[in-house]
Every structure is written in structure tokens, then in C-alpha cells.
Amino acid sequence: MEGKGLRFPKPRRIVLYFVLVVFVFLFLLPLWTDFTTSFKSIHDIIYTVPVELPSSPTIDPLITAFNIMERPLLNSLTFTVVAMIFSCLLGSINGYILTKIKFRGSNTVFLLFAIGIFIPYQAVLVPLVLTISKLGLYNTVGGLILTHTAYGITITTLLFRNFYGLLPDSLIMAAKVDGAGTWTIYRRIVLPLSLLPFVVAAVFQFTSIWNDFLFGVTLARGSEAMPASVALANLKGTTAFNYNVQMAGALWYALPVLIIYLVLGKYLIRGYMAGAIKG
């Protein structure tokens, strides 16, 4: 049916596609500019229009940017991956307990988790810095892991709770009758069935932790733990006109998220649809 529509486009359809293509173009323009500029020398920056291809392509800006951002990128990768794993695992356990092992007050506990989502980060910055300093984790990757894990749990708990709500209770009851305890049921039954929500939660957590600037800039100003997002912002201040290095830095910064989406995109879409289609 769709194929037919494409072969015989009605006038309205043509207009629709035209508008969509224009928007795609507008949306991709900054990315394109980022890409072209990253391969331009200082000379090219001055004498070519940003969207133009470089007249003499060079990878010098990419190398310069990488040298500056190598450590921050490594920092970011470390705390992002670790905090992602922790927050997903804890969210999954929370979701399981809240849906399948209901206890007195479990709804209240869930409500408190949900409220956590609506607390703006700015509101907790000062107490957060104080807490992290008291724990001796200021300016450390560990401090960022702890913070991002704690803040990630709210949303991952919500996500896993919704998914586990679709899991039939009879599965859990059957496992109980078969002799499995709470923890064994989680490990042997619930966890193996959680691939889709794990992908969705992982991609979501990776992106939001990787993109975070506020916690990074407040908790890790020193170079030992500085996240890539902060280092990227700092690129702007080093020299006045070297857009090419800044753009190259942005390209490096965007790369991991891009790879994650390319690799997991298929599962991500399936995960989003999981609630809609009954298995």
C-alpha cells in the first residue's frame, strides 16, 4: 500500500515530502558544517563559507582537538559507562521489586522515585557539592559515577517498572512454586527477559550522562576528572578564532553517542514499541 502511494504521489504528498526534506536539510546543516570545518585549515576557515567543503582537507584540527580532549574523553567514557551500568541494574531491580514483590508502602516508594524525576538539578547543586566533598569525592571520576547513578535511578526505575508491569505475574508465581526465591527469580527469569528495556535504559542513560555539563562543571573542575563536555566548552576559550579545532572537538565529542545509536538503534526502536505490541 505504501509502495503504491510512493509510485503515484498525490499533490499533497509532494508538498509534504518537500517540507520534510527541507526540515531534514535544516536539521543536518549544523552537523554538516561541523564536519566540513573539522577538516579545514585556518586559511580555509577565513576564505571559505562554513558549509563549503575544505579546499585543502587536513586532519590537523582533529589531532589538535584530540590531544587536548583525550583525558576528558576517557574520563567521560569511564563514568558514563559505569554510571550507566549501575543505574540500569539498580533501576531494573527496583522495577522488579516494585511490580512483582509488592510490599507495604511500595506505591509510596515508587511515588518518591517519580518525584525525583521532577526535581531540577540546579535545586540540589549546593547540597550535592557539599555531600560529594564530605565523601572526599570532589574532583574525582568516582564522585561523578555516584551522582549520575543516583540521578539515573529515578528514570530507569520508572522505565523498568513499566516494562515489568507487562510481564505476567503467573511467571513469577510459577517460579515461586518451582522453588525459586526472590533473588533467583530475578536472576533466572526476570533479568534474561529484560534485554529490550536494558537497551532503552542504557541508550537513554548513556546519552544523558555523556551530555551532562552541569554536574561535570560543578563537581569536576580539575583536569583529573574533567568530563569531555566541560573540556569542549573550554576549547572555546583557548584561542580566539580556531573554529576548526572547536568543531573537531565537537566531532570527537559526538562520536560515542553516534556509535551507540548506530549499533543499538534497531533494538531501541523495538524497545520503544515493546509496550505497543503484545508478544
Partner: protein
């Protein structure tokens, strides 16, 4: 000896009482059915026996072991009760192969690997699913999934089988077939079985004894024959049997030393044996019940004064196959009858004779059976 006893069992959910003061004795090797409409408390009772829910009052015994007691604070976990359960949606683990599904209870209780393999294979053979052991549940049909669930229950050699509407998700033909196999399996293994269903045909065909429940209370416990021929109240009478029993409002009266049920449109003379038992109820408002098969087309010609034969109008004839369903009207009273055959056509009148010896009489106020 694995008999099951429930004493004063009560389970409440927030504002509703799911099971109220239930007393029950299930004998060793018995196939016992909990029957009732949805929300009657049958599944709650089953879950309480399984240990999946805690009870609010009373006791449950499996064999000579007290497994649940609200008063003594005893609640044995499901796996400590020696039970196995089959769920309505089978609840087989979707990420495991058939082999792993059946083996799961054994792996959990750390049975040796070669013994697991031997027992799973033997169980699979018994159920005719040996060729499916490496498949995943999504590659199986409904009937095959049902067998896997059954296999997982059997492999543990439980003392008691608990089944929660295990046939409800199968199509009609498969349901009848599996019904027979289940019953045979239970006879062969001799494992005490509790079977929950809302389908009275399933209950009647499979059960040694049936407990009919409604709104958390027990309506009647008895053999299929007892429930069918001697229902203890209006609910059981109406719930068991298809097509349903006919109910007609009547008053019990005495005329010329004979007892009659007077339904205004007609009067039925009761046999003397019945009459002696009913004499003390003269004047009470009652409901008369008569099963469709206890009405017969009268062979005598119209106008004869045969006792308990009345002229009725046929509204509709439904040929079912082995018999015909006649939808009749006796004056204003609708009556359904099953007959082997009839020459009459819809719209015509017919003389129907009621078999007075098969009549049930219920007290209208209490809805309990008088006879």
C-alpha cells in the same frame, strides 16, 4: 496419604472478602474441582493452598502437615508444600528451551545433572513432547505449551497437582481432547488434584467431587451426580447443566388431599412420596425447577386429561444434533425443553408432559432446596 483440609479459611482483600469461612476436605487421590463464576473465590482458594497468598483466618493442612495457619502464624513457602501448579496462561519461561523449562524446578533444587536429564526425558516421553525439547516456547502451539507446563509440574513428582483453568486458552476441540488426557493422567499417577474452572462441563466430566463457590462462599460440595440431581440451592441448580434448568414461581397448595404446585397458569400434581415431605411447606412461596430433559412431548391426543401435561406454544426450535431444543411458552411462562424429535413446527402448539418425579422445589426466600 495426601488429603487436603481447609478449616475456617478466610481471605480478605482491602474491602472485599474473597473467601469466607471455608471448610473443605479433599481425599487422597481425589480429582477435586473448584467451580464457580469469575470472582467467586475459587482461584483465591487455590492460591491459598499453593501458599502464593497468606490467609487471614483458618488453617490449611496438606497430608498431616499444617502448611498455613493465620492464628499460629504459620505460612510454608510454595516449594515446601510438595505441590506443583499449572497456570491458565501456562507461565512457561519464554527465554528457556522446553528442556530447560521442564528441568527448572529440578535445577533449582540442585538435582544431579544426569538425573535431571533422565527425568525430563521420561516426562517428555509420557506427554509426547520428546521431539520438542530443544524448541523455544514461541515456536510451540497452544496445546504443546500446555503440555510443557504440565511436564514442568509433573517432573517434580509432587504430592498435589493444582491447576488453574489449564484448558481455558485452548480451542474447543483441543480442550475436549486434553480434558480426557488430563483425567487419564490423573488416574494413572493417582496424584491428588485440585482443578479450578468456571466451565461446568469440564467440572462434571473430570471431577470426583466438585465444590461450587459463589461470592466467596461454598454453595455445595458433592459428586457430579449429586450436584446435578440434588442441587442444594437455586444457584447450583442453575449453574450446573446446559441448557439451564427451568425455574417457575409457584405456591404449594393442598387440594382434595393432594399436593399441587400452583403457578397460576397451570397446576402440577406432586407424587405422593414427594408430597409427604412437602406437607409442612403448604402455603409457602416456592420456585419450581425442572430440567429441559424432564419435559416430554405427550403422545396422547389433545383434550385428554392426562396429569401434568400442558399445552404450550413453540416459539423456536433449535436442532442441536443429538437432540432438539424447544423454546416454549406456557401462557406467559417461558420454558425450554429438549426432545429427541418432534413433528411440530415453530408457531404451533404442542402438549408437553412434565415428569413430576424429577421436579425440584426451592424456598423462594432462602433459595435453598426443599426437595
Amino acid at each position: 496419604m495426601v488429603n487436603i483440609t481447609a478449616k475456617n479459611l478466610t481471605k480478605k482483600y482491602k474491602n472485599t472478602i474473597a473467601v469466607k469461612d471455608l471448610n473443605l476436605q479433599i481425599k487422597d487421590k481425589e480429582f477435586f474441582v473448584f467451580l464457580g463464576p469469575s470472582g467467586c473465590g475459587k482461584t483465591t482458594t487455590l492460591f491459598a493452598i499453593a501458599g502464593l497468598i497468606k490467609i487471614d483466618a483458618g488453617e490449611i493442612w496438606i497430608g498431616d502437615e499444617l502448611v498455613s495457619s493465620a492464628e499460629k502464624g504459620i505460612h510454608k513457602a510454595p516449594q515446601e508444600r510438595g505441590i506443583a501448579m499449572v497456570f491458565q496462561d501456562y507461565a512457561i519461561y519464554p527465554h528457556m528451551t522446553v528442556f530447560d523449562n521442564i528441568a527448572f524446578p529440578l535445577t533449582i533444587s540442585k538435582v544431579k545433572k544426569d538425573e535431571i536429564e533422565a527425568r525430563v526425558k521420561k516426562t517428555a516421553e509420557l506427554l509426547g513432547i520428546s521431539h520438542l525439547l530443544n524448541r523455544k516456547p514461541r515456536q510451540l502451539s497452544g496445546g504443546q505449551r500446555q503440555r510443557v507446563a504440565l511436564g514442568r509440574a509433573m517432573v517434580r513428582r509432587p504430592k498435589v497437582f493444582l491447576m488453574d483453568e489449564p484448558l481455558a486458552n485452548l480451542d474447543a476441540k483441543l480442550r475436549v481432547q486434553t480434558r480426557i488426557e488430563l483425567k487419564k493422567l490423573q488416574l494413572d499417577t493417582g496424584v491428588t488434584t485440585i482443578y479450578v474452572t468456571h466451565d461446568q462441563v469440564e467440572a462434571m466430566t473430570m471431577a470426583d467431587r466438585i465444590m461450587v463457590q459463589k461470592d466467596g462462599e461454598v454453595e455445595q460440595i458433592g459428586t457430579p451426580d449429586e450436584l446435578y440431581n440434588h442441587p442444594s440451592n437455586l444457584f447450583v441448580a442453575g449453574f450446573i447443566g446446559s441448557p439451564e434448568m427451568n425455574f417457575i414461581n409457584c405456591t404449594l397448595i393442598e387440594e382434595n388431599k393432594g399436593l399441587y404446585l400452583d403457578a397460576k397458569e397451570f397446576k402440577i400434581s406432586l407424587p405422593t412420596k414427594m408430597a409427604s415431605e412437602l406437607r409442612s411447606y403448604i402455603g409457602t412461596e416456592t420456585i419450581m425447577g425442572i430440567r429441559p430433559e424432564d419435559l416430554h412431548e405427550s403422545e396422547s391426543a389433545e383434550g385428554t386429561t392426562q396429569e401434568n401435561a400442558f399445552r404450550m406454544k413453540i416459539n423456536l426450535i433449535e436442532p442441536v444434533g443429538p437432540y432438539m431444543l424447544l423454546h416454549l411458552n406456557l401462557g406467559q411462562i417461558p420454558i425450554v425443553a429438549t426432545v429427541k424429535e418432534t413433528k411440530a413446527k415453530a408457531g404451533q402448539g404442542v402438549i408437553m408432559e412434565m415428569d413430576a418425579s424429577k421436579i425440584h422445589v426451592f424456598d423462594k426466600k432462602t433459595t435453598n432446596a426443599i426437595i
